[in-house]
Symmetry: C2
Subunit: 298 residues, 2 copies
């Protein structure tokens, strides 16, 4: 299944309200309050996390993939509804650990858990979270709105999703595996900076290059990324190694455009917005060809 | 797994905000707006619907189990976020049918689909919906609040969940099976009556007797139900047949208490609120013993 195709074909025709932002954004606006937004992300065992991952970290990841969407829109997370489809083959200690991880993060991020549902299944473990947020500004920042001349900024580092997954698979370098299991998000002050300065903003979850292309298309502008400036988990002089990290996904950072001279302590400037469509990448001063695969396509 | 036990043990300790209504109600209040409520219900293939059920009706059922919670709180449904965990073994035509059913009901019930998530799995099909609602009154009606002397009222009919499921299993009486596959809900005018007159209200989804006991406990009052007056899918002079329908679940009607002389065209009066704890049932003028199993316990 090509998820994005099916969304275009069957789901988008059902979406008629302005609050849905045409499903082109990461969040919805809950009317009649333009400042209240909501997102809903689902994690499936063996797809979005590894069956052997500690349930505690799975709970944290569930919270963080959703918080990432809220931060990237220039908002603070507020209230959550949690749905758990729990497999019979997992025991109560695992359930307790999952909820302990969720409990840690709802407290750490100032979220109120207000409802949800729990059902038993034959597996796999499937977790859905609906998270609301309150924007710092008058409305959420969108993928649209990038202006020619803007700088392109990214929070944190890119590549830990991929490198951490590889470490988890190989069973060594627990410090790296931890970065896959529990993404380190941008801060609330970064979310406030999005609200204050972003022209366009989104979270990087499917690979920096793919998400940059999506922002470029939503804003009808060109994005030129300078790969030399991308803050990488594993800095390298090998273009292939750099590209792998920029297409690996699971980073949960913020990608935004803002006036080029913006002072943004939580971000690194990695490129500029130009006229004309699409995405281009530079490396050591030269334009290089885009890889065939820009990221993780659902 | 005893879902309610695990909720008490691991989830309730995480719930600290007043908007959660202690998870004792069917919905949460989204702060800072006491009139905006939210519910999230999940349907799992082979648990909440039959694998052979037409996907179109599964989509309708997903909407209706959530709408039922909103109506029962005296509110109108507003916005939905939809999460689909879609099994590889189902084809695109089934996906299209699922979404057509969802599309039918979001239009019929005036709901805006504003977001969600779609992931592919090895199965089973799992559907989660988060639905917001706007209360007609200043706040949602709760399970608490029943007053001694109130009448007890139920909307629609009780028993179609059970009788319809049996018809679906046997593969005959499609008219009855349809009532299992697609619950016939109370109307928006019934939801408005809840807002105007209910002292306590909840939806009947796990069996009339079990849900009545829950309302009794939440309100710290006694409920006496006269089974002769319960509007049944299959009226019967056989007490066992009556009890089965009152404990079968999947009815998705509204159970509320209101001043005994209330005029409620969408409801039938089936009992009264009394002093003292617990639930009692009457049949042909006599008190009869409660059955061991009052309903469907998760």
């Amino acid at each position: 299944m090509q998820e994005t195709e099916w969304i275009d074909r069957y789901i988008k025709p059902l979406v008629t309200s302005s609050g849905a932002l045409d499903l082109k954004d990461d969040v919805a606006v809950l009317t009649p309050f333009a400042t209240t937004i909501a997102t809903m992300d689902t994690l499936v065992e063996a797809v979005h996390f590894r069956p052997a991952d500690p349930p505690y970290t799975v709970g944290q990841k569930l919270l963080r993939v959703n918080i990432s969407d809220i931060y990237a829109k220039g908002a603070a997370p507020r209230e959550a509804l949690l749905s758990i489809a729990w497999p019979r083959y997992r025991d109560e200690a695992q359930f307790a650990a999952l909820l302990a991880g969720i409990g840690h993060d709802i407290e750490a991020f100032g979220i109120d858990l207000v409802g949800g549902d729990l059902v038993t299944t034959d597996g796999p473990l499937i977790l859905s979270l609906t998270l609301t947020g309150e924007t710092f500004g008058v409305a959420p920042k969108r993928r649209t709105g990038a202006q020619i001349g803007d700088g392109i900024f990214v929070s944190g580092q890119i590549g830990f999703g991929l490198i951490g997954l590889e470490a988890a698979r190989l069973g060594h370098r627990d410090d790296l595996a931890a970065r896959y299991r529990v993404p380190v998000l941008a801060s609330l002050s970064a979310a406030r900076a999005v609200a204050d300065l972003a022209m366009a903003s989104m979270d990087v979850s499917d690979g920096l290059l793919l998400d940059a292309q999506r922002l470029s298309r939503a804003s009808h502008v060109g994005l030129v990324l300078d790969l030399d400036h991308v803050p990488l988990a594993e800095p390298s002089d090998d273009l292939a190694v750099v590209i792998r990290q920029c297409t690996g996904g699971d980073d949960y950072q913020i990608l935004m455009t803002a006036p080029a001279d913006s002072v943004l302590p939580d971000f690194t400037r990695i490129g500029r917005v130009v006229d004309g469509p699409g995405l281009a990448i530079h490396w050591h001063g030269n334009t290089v060809a885009l890889p065939e695969n820009l990221g993780f396509r659902h």
